[in-house]
Symmetry: C2
Subunit: 601 residues, 2 copies
């Protein structure tokens, strides 16, 4: 029996009862789809995840990529995985019919990605990155670039990557030094180094297509001088054959986790023969890349949610089968030991995990739905969803990443000593998940993005829209007796978030940028908790509606469990904002005042 790594019941609850995916079929663009097809697609994804991805989750970790004679070798299953995901249409599931895709709503396609990530995050990364890179070419590249690269990527024959980071430019992209020298042909000559490139080279595909940032000679300093190029590992030669493009894999990192996927160091132009093709306009590269980066940020949040979800079910399974100790109210040692899920503290740890993973999944799916709506609504409405997506992106990246680690750690704790040993998968999840607060912009970067850019954007319009969404949810919830208390609590937390925001804006005015942003990470944490509380309230509304309509006997525990978890979130998680609020209102500039010398000795 394959262990459980996702809950179909919960996925359908979110898809249909909370986010009403079927409503999208009312728009022309999604008009050819229907509920039955959506459900079949999800079930098909679960099946594929179970048969193809989950069985080698451990094996890929134990046999990490190696660099042998300039070629990164990965687990042989990667080839099969890319083939099956490509040929099965999973890479191109969101792509319009006209380009050969399935034109699925993001809400549904993202759900399938989540299922794949829960089964085997590393394995799915190859496909996820390939879609992201192909989408970038589709959005901003020429027809010719599209025709050369994208069809091969959609079927999983060619790998796509995002190649941004350099040895001296990680969080600070303005400092990249990779150069692009114009030629009299249609290409540029690329020279430079890239590091930490996920799936940057491997033998599971025929070719690797890097979407790479570089600076054209004479470009302005900083991010305004960055251009985007397609830089393939192999280019099309004069006879249409593939020939080497002077991109060398010069190193592969040994990592804590996420070992099924290589992160690679690349060297371009050692022989002065690395060709890159400009995507879109010169110096506009970062703007284009942000499309992929925003998708990737939400993708990271989704991956973190997925890992934590699989870890939760592994911990739950252990708690339901392991006997140990007696309840504190029945200490008689002659009684048999109870299942550890009977202990209140174990239930607390399980509720914590469930509250995190089901709350995080909801916020990811909320973002997916905004992406879908942006495609089909009027221009005015489009801007609304665009702004909501902008303000939610750092939250959707960070809450699952940071809380996913905590959640997995609690899962490991449920297993005690066994959790620390590799006979059980928890230790691997614990290693794997630690990448998420780092890649695609660290938590610190996300905090500054939220407070320093998103909250301010368009005169605070995004923040106002966000507040209105939460306000609406509290009003909707208030119609149900069971939800009156959490609705009031969310309203009150939103008020406090607004006060803190107002206070910080005044700090920005009065004390400058350093102080304003000093605790941006804490602000993001506060914002994240409130956001997930909102998502739990939306789930509560869906539960109450279902209960009003009468639920099947087999569903009673599911809905009651949902309500228990909602209550857990409001009772244990939301109060964490109290301490954050106290700190955020202080603005004494302690961390600004502290000097490097204070860390001597």
């Amino acid at each position: 029996m394959v262990a459980k790594f996702v809950s179909e019941r919960n996925i359908f609850f979110l898809l249909h009862e909370v986010f009403e995916v079927e409503s999208l079929t009312g728009y022309d663009y999604y008009g050819e789809h229907n509920r039955k097809l959506f459900d079949m697609t999800v079930k098909e994804a679960v099946k594929l995840a179970k048969n193809l991805l989950f069985p080698i989750f451990e094996e890929m970790d134990r046999n990490p990529p190696e660099l042998i004679k300039g070629q990164v070798r990965v687990h042989p299953a990667v080839k099969t995985i890319m083939q099956q995901l490509g040929e099965g249409g999973w890479i191109a599931s969101r792509v319009p019919f006209e380009h050969g895709g399935d034109q699925l709503p993001n809400l549904l396609a993202d759900t399938c990605d989540f299922i794949f990530q829960a089964a085997n995050y590393s394995a799915f990364t190859y496909a996820g990155l390939t879609y992201g890179a192909s989408h970038l070419i589709e959005s901003f590249g020429s027809r010719k670039l599209y025709e050369i690269y994208v069809p091969h990527m959609h079927v999983g024959k060619w790998q796509g990557t995002m190649a941004l980071t350099e040895p001296e430019a990680g969080s600070s992209l303005s400092d990249i030094t990779t150069t692009a020298e114009p030629t009299d042909q249609d290409y540029y000559l690329i020279r430079g180094q890239k590091i930490f490139i996920s799936a940057g080279d491997h033998d599971g595909v025929e070719n690797v297509v890097h979407l790479m940032l570089a600076k054209i000679a004479g470009a302005p300093a900083g991010v305004k001088g960055i251009s985007l190029f397609v830089v393939p590992k192999k280019r099309i030669g004069p006879e249409g054959e593939l020939e080497a493009n002077d991109v060398a894999a010069s190193g592969v990192y040994h990592k804590l986790g996420y070992r099924g996927c290589p992160i690679v160091q690349l060297s371009m132009g050692d022989k002065n023969d690395c060709r890159g093709w400009l995507v879109g306009q010169p110096h506009e590269g970062l703007k284009y890349m942000f499309q992929m980066m925003n998708e990737a940020r939400i993708g990271v949040g989704m991956g973190a949610t997925a890992m934590a979800t699989a870890a939760y079910y592994a911990a739950l399974d252990y708690a339901k089968t392991r006997r140990q100790g007696r309840k504190v109210s029945h200490k008689d040692p002659t009684l048999p030991p109870v299942l550890i899920i009977e202990h209140a503290d174990v239930k607390r740890m399980l509720l914590f995990q469930r509250a995190v993973v089901e709350g995080a999944l909801a916020i990811i799916m909320q973002c997916s739905k905004y992406v879908d709506l942006m495609k089909v609504v009027s221009e005015a409405e489009k801007e609304k969803y665009h702004l909501l997506l902008e303000i939610l992106t750092p939250v959707a990246k960070t809450y699952p990443s940071e809380m996913g680690i905590q959640s997995i750690s609690q899962g490991l704790q449920c297993l005690g000593g066994s959790g620390y040993c590799d006979d059980y998968p928890l230790e691997q999840y614990y290693r794997d998940c630690r990448i998420h607060p780092i890649h695609e912009g660290t938590t610190g970067i996300q905090g500054m993005d939220l407070l320093g850019r998103k909250v301010l954007m368009q005169n605070g319009q995004a923040f106002l829209l966000y507040g209105a969404e939460l306000q609406q949810a509290t009003e909707d919830a208030d119609r149900f007796g069971e939800l009156r208390k959490p609705a009031r609590q969310l309203k009150e937390a939103l008020d406090r978030l607004q006060q803190v925001t107002q206070h910080l804006l005044e700090v920005a005015q009065g004390k400058g940028a350093e102080l304003f942003l000093a605790d941006a990470t804490l602000y993001l944490e506060f914002f994240g908790i409130v956001t997930v509380a909102w998502q739990w309230l939306l789930q509560g509304i869906a539960v109450q509606k279902a209960l009003q309509n009468g639920v099947k006997k087999g569903d009673v525990n599911f809905y009651e469990g949902k309500m228990m978890t909602l209550q857990y979130f409001f009772a244990y998680e939301l109060p964490k904002t109290l301490g954050l609020e106290k700190r955020l209102l202080e603005s004494d500039g302690l961390t600004v005042k502290t000097q490097p010398e204070h860390f001597n000795d």
Copy 2:
């Protein structure tokens, strides 16, 4: 140059300025010591740690123990380490002169252990366990047992262990099934299985001496029927030679971290020839074992503190040498990048780590000092320190264990992608430290110990004494202008802790044990934060005294840095109690009411 893993400056500050170790020499028992000797001992420990332990920190992780033909093979350095720590007197440093030891105060001996643990936790575990086991024989065993085993253990020739856990009895010791059958000789025949035994077998020593829990046939059920035995791997044969004692190493675990030390599965009596010698009285074993377990719990807290300390200095070193980005108030891309320690968010992460590790070390040293005072004061006073030690033990175990993980994780975050790769040590600390909330009683067990036993013991006497210590500290601090605010904040937090405690005692009366203890883990977290705030205030007092007396120019940054870190703790950490308080006052029994069925689907 060897990287920094401890701060001598901070150690001497705590030893002399906060805990006034020299004052112990005023008691007869410690009368032969003096400050110069203490300081030399610390410097000697640092030197040994640097030369012997730290250089193989990584190597021991990369070459973990293996079970080959029934023998656990460990890194060859283990033999040298045990020899040098043994012959150098480091294992027996606390042992009275009359038994061949150095009769050092625990405060000093623990400080040296801390230094060794910071250099290489796994490597020191062999020695630390050996002392604990020898101390148990010294305290409760017969003279004959002492003479056979202890001298070999003190010099590091024989390994000591604590053998408690069994496949079906981890957190619940009342369920152990290992049996001891009386014979007409001076020994019992032992039969059973033990798992997760640290240093339970290895080839770095001549013999392994297990201090093992077992049940004598006909013993009462539960913990009241547990006896303690010495069960050696090899016993003394008729000619005085070592002969096999039918203790088989049947497995060695593959662990997330802490890989320099094997945890072993043992099988006793497969040939019906495993002899065990009773320590003390029958059925009193758990009481005896608790001496070692309490020492081991504080030892775990110390180890967690030590790892997090070393990780902090590794992160600090990176932050002081890595350039990336610009300050948020000077974004001009033509300016050179700054050291990342210039970024407020990085300083925040470093202050967090420092606040945790220096606060945790203080609480460990506070416990050490109580142990010392218990040895030398009058009976009445002795009870005071005994009770303080009892109530602080779960805190000293758990705060460093739980917060050490957070601290190391923030250290890893300072390094970004490099923190995730094994070119830097952070990923190893991150793996190693995850054992601490598990071994020697999980965090959940510690929470129930604190709230369910320690707070209640002797009609709440321990809790009253604890409150009095904190109260005294706030009064002492109040004399210094700079400390008035944190003193008031601690007083207020103590009041809230007392109110929460009172509330929970009423819950115990009115609603029973299940509800009373349901959130014991959160109570422990609250208690831990308040306790460390107290220790920061004590450090603040020492700083202010030093400043009043005038400090050397080279010390200004140290003292200012201490005050910054104190302020950090009160500004960022203490407010976390607000959310915990809110939850703890609720007592709605949510986790008790939640049923296993609610986790279906």
